[in-house]
């Protein structure tokens, strides 16, 4: 029974990693850059949702709001977070990354780190250093076996959201016109341009989608682990980056799988080996997997051209 509990913990945390990793992998797959500021966009999403909900409860909803009204307010706050993050993502891409499209990947990496510092410090100035406690978007839990096993609705919601997003993205990149354009850019930007694809717009679109995912991830992360502060996004961001590489960076099902496995390994390591070394164990597993499969679990093996 405990094992099941640990597994569920792992899957719920893993799903959050997976959603973040999906954003990472989208951007990496198409723009070929490590967007280290992704974790901080998550944090911004969390703050927007927090303030929107607080405003709604304080100003718009009455003394005793109906469940329907609260639900609507929550939904609107999530949508607002997605909107803000999308705009933010596109602005970041346009101002900081687009001018470096011709430069080396390291230059973009350092710029992304600069953007990450910027977002964290701007958040501290805007929202204060005082951590905020985020009210979960849904409360309550399902109970099984006379209360021996409980699954919170947040965990369920996270898993469902993660699967829906993963499937949605797979379909989108596989079927839609924009999705095909993205894959074309991913293969060869120059050739894509020659085929009449607007590369800049396609990459902006990728950032928009990635940032909207970050907003969702932010709301779910803060619902699951309800403390919001300017550095909230950075550690989950790095873990999710690890997850994306684990599954094979650039691969959408890979990010999903990597995120889930990461969460589960972490939970099992904490439960049965050592909470002190859970991170070390996690990374050790990652190293072993990468040594066996050098491009991640589901990553494409790209033969080197001579």
């Amino acid at each position: 029974m405990e094992f099941l509990s640990y597994l569920i913990n792992g899957i719920s945390m893993g799903s959050i990693y997976a959603i973040i990793a999906l954003g990472y992998t989208m951007v990496y797959g198409i723009a070929k850059m490590l967007n280290f500021a992704h974790g901080d966009v998550i944090m911004v999403g969390g703050y927007v949702s927090f303030y929107a909900t607080s405003y709604a409860t304080a100003q718009l909803l009455g003394e005793d709001p109906s469940a329907m009204a609260v639900g609507m307010a929550t939904l609107v706050s999530v949508l607002l977070a997605m909107l803000v993050c999308t705009v933010l993502g596109v602005i970041i891409e346009g101002l900081a990354y687009r001018p470096l499209r011709q430069a080396g990947s390291l230059a973009v990496l350092i710029t992304a780190i600069g953007v990450s510092y910027f977002l964290q410090n701007a958040a501290q100035l805007l929202f204060g250093a005082n951590p905020k406690n985020f009210t979960p978007v849904v409360g309550g839990q399902l109970t099984f076996f006379d209360g021996q096993l409980r699954i919170s609705y947040v965990a369920l919601l996270t898993v469902v959201a993660c699967v829906v997003i993963m499937v949605g993205l797979t379909v989108f990149t596989g079927q839609s016109k924009m999705g095909k354009a993205m894959r074309a850019c991913s293969e060869d930007k120059g050739a894509a341009q020659l085929m009449g694809i607007n590369v800049n717009r396609t990459i902006s679109m990728t950032f928009a989608i990635g940032s909207a995912l970050a907003a969702i991830a932010g709301v779910l992360l803060c619902s699951y682990s309800p403390v919001l502060k300017p550095t909230t996004g950075s550690m989950p961001g790095i873990k999710a980056f690890t997850a994306a590489v684990f599954g094979g960076i650039g691969s959408i099902p890979g990010a999903f799988l990597g995120g889930l496995l990461l969460g589960i390994i972490e939970a099992i390591a904490q439960a049965y080996i050592s909470t002190q070394l859970s991170n070390a164990i996690l990374f050790a597993v990652l190293i072993v997997v990468l040594l066996v499969k050098p491009s991640g679990l589901l990553g494409k093996y790209v033969p080197e051209k001579v």
Partner: protein, 378 residues
């Protein structure tokens, strides 16, 4: 490195016969020595305030870190995100060495030298252990694995308990979290050196600016000579085209390891010096963010550009301190400066402008190298 560009610098016959790269190397040595002399004179005249004086040793450490990382990232062409891990190994092995020799060797200088050497050796060993598996991978996968090793090193040191008494060193690994420094069973005269996650506190501070300068010079000599040697050319050929290098019979693994282990050893020595400059250090200080910080120095200074790393480190280390007057805006401004510098150095218009300036000053060899400071490298 476009080092092969022949310069026609006419500063005498001797210089004429030298390659541009060699001239740049000598200019780097001379520059560092001059900087050292100027700083020492200023210090003896009391022209430096405490804040400047306090930054001298860490600057030296970070210069060594940046130069050694440049060997991996710029010369070998592999992105490493775990350089702070090697620094950490150097920090703690250096502290253990220096603290345990406290009673036997009275000369601080000798202890410092031994600690630095031990730090370098341990970091080299770890670098070898890490390098063998890691260097089989490529690109971002290699980057994430170095990041992973850096975090693993941090976590292991977080569990490390080390104490010293007349019987020698006592070491325990606190895996289940139940051990404390008492579990080491130290005798009355014994003392704790590393208390797990609480780090090493109460260290003697024996690092000096002169030692830092010497370490910087050694690092420069090692790295620059390695780069200009046959080995260095082999390493750079791997960076430029691994398959071509392999096809002409270069042992890729061997040369990659040489670069990686050298880089780790230098980082270890820098770490030992760093550790002996503070009375307390914790493993958490040498995390992923520190690795990134050093990487920023390297990229901003220019990949493969050693003197660029030196200058970038000094400027970027001092910048946050110089911005202290701006209060909470400090790190925000730092971030903006970072982004703007990256944008500016990679801006085609600005690059063209710099090129033209470079043409005008073509006679000065340093400028010729300066204009390629950008980070155009895949």
């Amino acid at each position: 490195m476009k080092e092969k560009k022949k310069s026609t610098g006419g500063l005498g016959n001797y210089f004429k016969r030298m390659k541009t790269a060699t001239k740049v190397d000598y200019a780097t040595y001379v520059g560092v020595i001059l900087a050292f002399i100027v700083v020492t004179i200023c210090q003896s005249q009391g022209l430096l305030n405490r804040s400047m004086t306090g930054m001298l040793v860490p600057i030296c450490c970070y210069v060594c870190m940046a130069v050694s990382l440049n060997l991996t990232v710029g010369v070998l062409g592999e992105l490493s995100l775990g350089h702070a891990g090697f620094m950490s190994v150097g920090v703690f092995s250096g502290i253990i060495t220096s603290m345990s020799l406290q009673s036997t060797i009275s000369s601080e200088l000798l202890r410092l030298v031994i600690a630095l050497v031990v730090g370098a050796i341990f970091a080299a060993i770890v670098g070898f252990i890490v390098g063998v598996p890691v260097l089989r991978l490529r690109g971002d996968y290699l980057a994430i694995v170095t990041l992973a090793f850096g975090e693993i090193i941090k976590d292991i040191i977080n569990c490390l308990l080390v104490g010293y008494d007349e019987k020698g060193l006592h070491i325990a690994l606190n895996i289940d979290g139940k051990k404390t420094i008492q579990s080491l069973g130290l005798s009355e005269d014994g003392f704790a050196i590393i208390k797990g996650a609480q780090g090493a506190a109460g260290n003697e501070r024996i690092a000096t600016f002169t030692a830092g300068f010497v370490l910087v010079m050694i690092t420069l000599i090692v790295v620059l000579n390695l780069m200009r040697s046959r080995t260095g050319r082999a390493i750079m050929s791997i960076r430029d085209n691994r398959i071509a290098a392999e096809s002409v019979g270069i042992n890729v693994t061997k040369y990659k390891l040489i670069a990686f282990v050298t880089s780790a050893a230098l980082a270890g020595a820098a770490g030992a010096l760093f550790g002996l400059n503070y009375s307390s250090v914790t493993a958490a200080q040498f995390d992923f963010n520190t690795s990134i910080l050093v990487l920023v120095y390297v990229v901003l200074g220019g990949l493969g550009n050693i003197w660029g790393s030196v200058v970038a480190t000094v400027v970027l280390y001092v910048l946050p301190e110089a911005l202290r007057g701006m209060d909470q805006l400090r790190m925000l401004v730092y971030a903006i400066v970072l982004i703007l510098v990256m944008l500016a150095t990679n801006n085609p218009v600005l690059q063209g402008f710099m090129d033209r300036i470079g043409e005008k000053f073509k006679r000065q060899p340093r400028k010729a190298a300066a204009q390629k400071g950008g980070a155009s490298h895949e």
